[in-house]
């Protein structure tokens, strides 16, 4: 039990520090560790947990709770949560303090202007990477692209869009 908790802690502490560009980037590493290296679960169980954590409200990286829960119960979930979020939160916190202290400095204004196109580029990049790693059916691609268009160009509420996406997938499965 203690050994499992330590493994969980190390795994997520290290992966969270490697997750440049967001948690989705290390999802394949988490899968490999949980399924192949430590055999905490089957590949299908991992995919189900991925779906649960994606669909539930909140950050998708909460999947670490489910993996910890499967491997070592509630203590496992708690250890995984702390290991996944504490290190990166401390880094961001330090960065935010530094940023705040820069106040209205001219260089901060310049860097902020330089970061805007970077943020938008990374948004597209992570969206495309996630599409490739989590979607395999044409219907899913279609739903994603339609969702992007509707979100960008209309004022339709996101909750209606989510319901429509779920409906579209169910309909496609019924007709297949």
């Amino acid at each position: 039990m203690i050994a499992t908790l330590l493994k969980l802690f190390w795994l997520f502490a290290i992966l969270s520090m490697l997750a440049f560009g967001g948690g989705a980037g290390v999802m394949p590493d988490i899968q490999r560790a949980a399924v192949e290296t430590y055999r905490w679960m089957t590949a299908k169980e991992f995919l189900d947990m991925f779906a649960i954590s994606r669909a539930a409200p909140g950050p998708g990286s909460l999947i670490v709770l489910l993996i910890g829960q499967k491997a070592a119960g509630l203590p496992g979930a708690a250890v995984s949560f702390v290991a996944m979020f504490l290190p990166s939160c401390l880094v961001v916190h330090a960065l935010a303090r530094f940023w705040h202290r820069a106040g209205q400095a001219a260089w901060r204004e310049t860097v902020e202007r330089a970061l805007a196109p970077v943020a938008i580029g990374l948004t597209f990049a992570s969206g495309l990477a996630l599409m490739r790693s989590t979607e395999s059916e044409y219907v899913q691609y279609g739903v994603t692209i339609a969702g992007a268009g509707v979100f960008a160009f209309t004022r339709i509420g996101p909750l209606y869009m989510l319901a429509a996406g779920a409906g579209a997938m169910l309909l496609a499965r019924l007709m297949a």
Partner: protein, 185 residues
């Protein structure tokens, strides 16, 4: 730019604001919800402040949206603010995910149709994030230089699968040069 010190939100409103973001973001799409709440509804940040915070949150390792919450909380109210935003964003979702996990582990497998519906919601949420990219691009990329920076990063990482640190090591200096010496927007 307006001085933000004047409208510092209270800890409670930070907590509630991010709790709202966390609970609305079924299937992901948190960045879109965060911008809506923080820039449009509550006016805590300007568009440019949000964008730079969002960029930094993506550059620092870890979950982007959790990073963004901590970044905004720290800017607004230091350590207590960071904690308020982090707890607001995660508290209820943690309870829901743990509950769903217990149900799932209890039933050994879960319902197929629920899985199909979830995958549809996930696909839409992914689309919302891409749609946010489109919206932000239309609003913020009014010149060719920054637009090319965005395009190179999106294609380099998203399509060609080049490593993110390499792409940024090339594009960040270019973007800085454009911001410093390019014509103002």
């Amino acid at each position: 730019m307006a001085n933000r010190e004047v409208v510092r939100p209270t800890l409670l409103s930070l907590f509630l604001g991010f709790a709202h973001i966390g609970m609305m973001s079924f299937g992901g799409g948190l960045a879109a919800w965060t911008r809506r709440e923080v820039v449009q509804t509550r006016g805590w940040l300007t568009e440019q402040q949000f964008l730079s915070g969002y960029a930094l949150s993506q550059l620092v390792p870890g979950a982007t949206n959790v990073n963004l919450a901590v970044f905004i909380g720290t800017q607004m109210r230091g350590v207590p603010g960071a904690l308020a935003c982090f707890l607001g964003l995660t508290a209820l979702p943690v309870a829901i995910v743990l509950g769903a996990g217990a149900l799932y582990l209890g039933t050994h497998g879960g319902n197929v149709w629920v899985g199909v519906a979830l995958s549809g919601m996930g696909a839409v949420a992914l689309g919302m994030n891409l749609g946010l990219g489109v919206r932000l691009a239309i609003i913020n990329l009014r010149r060719i230089g920054p637009a090319l920076v965005t395009l190179c990063i999106a294609v380099g990482i998203g399509v060609l699968r080049l490593p993110l640190p390499v792409v940024l090591a090339v594009m960040m200096p270019i973007s800085l040069a454009i911001a410093k010496w390019g014509r103002p927007v």
